[in-house]
């Protein structure tokens, strides 16, 4: 069944999965694991839970492979499923935490988190980089889940407003308003950081951050 999407290599990979081509699903898992785990991590703030969500997304698409019809970029489709799972899981968790008397706050993943960017060229740079990362992560985690999902899809996954609207089942204008509110909240939460340009940080960190620009 050919359509406009069948020339897309990502979509072709999924079509191979649909046809049970040996190694196709393994290839898909390898290719999208990092994307899905990091998307979910930014959404839920916990690596273990993020891996559970990524696994659920991949298993779901494997289960549904026979009914797959290419209708969007594969990446967008996977992120749509991941967004819904993350938002539903959050809803379930807030309900569960509300009704369960013994459910305390979830333990932080603490040491279990591994930062990809942990190549400490200088301990001081590494420390400041880590602190900055933590502040950014905390600000993102403090957003309401739907605002977080919208920012996650826009800033980190590079989806367009239209793609975000489709992924979240919203109108275009509602998506823009959601993003605007999310960014306002982030600007408020990170106000002090926004006021500091790299030059105003310590010379070592300033240099390091400037190189990234």
């Amino acid at each position: 069944m050919a359509n406009a999407w069948t020339d897309d290599p990502e979509v072709r990979l999924m079509l191979d999965v649909r046809s049970d081509l040996p190694g196709a699903f393994e290839e898909l898992v390898t290719r999208y694991a990092t994307l899905l785990v990091n998307f979910a991590f930014r959404q839920v703030g916990d690596r273990e839970e993020a891996e559970d969500i990524a696994q659920e997304v991949l298993v779901k698409i494997f289960q549904a492979r026979k009914t797959y019809v290419p209708a969007a970029k594969l990446r967008t489709w996977l992120l749509t499923i991941a967004t819904n799972l993350c938002l539903n899981r959050r809803r379930y968790r807030s309900y569960r935490d509300h009704v369960s008397l013994d459910s305390g706050p979830k333990a932080s993943d603490g040491e279990s988190r591994t930062y990809a960017d942990e190549r400490a060229e200088d301990p001081f740079v590494a420390l400041e980089r880590r602190e900055l990362s933590e502040r950014v992560r905390d600000a993102v985690q403090a957003l309401p889940p739907n605002q977080r999902a919208a920012v996650n899809l826009l800033r980190f996954e590079g989806l367009s407003y239209k793609e975000i609207a489709d992924a979240m089942g919203l109108g275009l204008q509602a998506t823009k308003s959601l993003l605007n509110r999310a960014k306002e909240n982030l600007r408020t939460a990170l106000g002090t950081e926004l006021g500091r340009e790299p030059d105003e940080r310590s010379p070592v960190v300033g240099d390091a951050l400037r190189r990234e620009r």
Binding site: V37, N38, Q173, K176, N180
Partner: protein, 160 residues
């Protein structure tokens, strides 16, 4: 830009920063930003936020992740057709009452005139009467459903 897409000014600046406006619109906005310092500040702040978000930590996927996924996928049953799972106890009273009313209205047309309506009307065959509630809330809803069916049942018997 149609009415649906019309943005407020902060949203327009945000759309410019996010590369979501066409070239003509971008030119218009840049001119406006150049003329209004507060808009310039907003644009700089949004660009700074964008850079700052780039410092969000990333995680490395754990070593056994792919194997775990493959194992789980092979163990998972094939997807079944989506079943309607929203039909819970809370909706039973309404649905059961509606079904009873339909039967009540339709039965006179189905039973030949002049014949006595059987004393034992199979209204009690509704699944709701045999359902086993899973919770106190479910039991209350189920009781209500049963009472409604019995009430309709009684009216029907009286009329017949």
């Amino acid at each position: 830009m149609d009415r649906e897409d019309r943005l407020s000014l902060p949203e327009e600046v945000m759309a410019l920063v996010d590369g979501e406006v066409d070239e003509g619109e971008a030119r218009r906005l840049r001119a406006r930003i150049a003329a209004e310092p507060s808009l310039g500040d907003a644009e700089r702040s949004l660009r700074a936020l964008d850079r700052l978000l780039g410092h969000h930590p990333e995680v490395v996927v754990s070593a056994g992740f792919a194997e775990r996924v493959l194992k789980a996928a092979r163990a998972a049953p094939p997807e079944r057709p989506l079943v309607h799972r929203g039909f819970r106890f809370a909706r039973w009273p309404l649905a059961a009452a509606a079904a009873a009313v339909v039967v009540w209205v339709a039965l006179p047309f189905l039973v030949p005139r002049g014949e006595a309506v059987p004393a034992e009307i199979p209204l009690r065959d509704y699944g709701v009467l045999a359902a086993v509630p899973e919770s106190a809330e479910g039991a209350a809803s189920l009781d209500a459903a049963v009472r409604e069916i019995e009430a309709v049942d009684e009216i029907f018997l009286r009329l017949s």
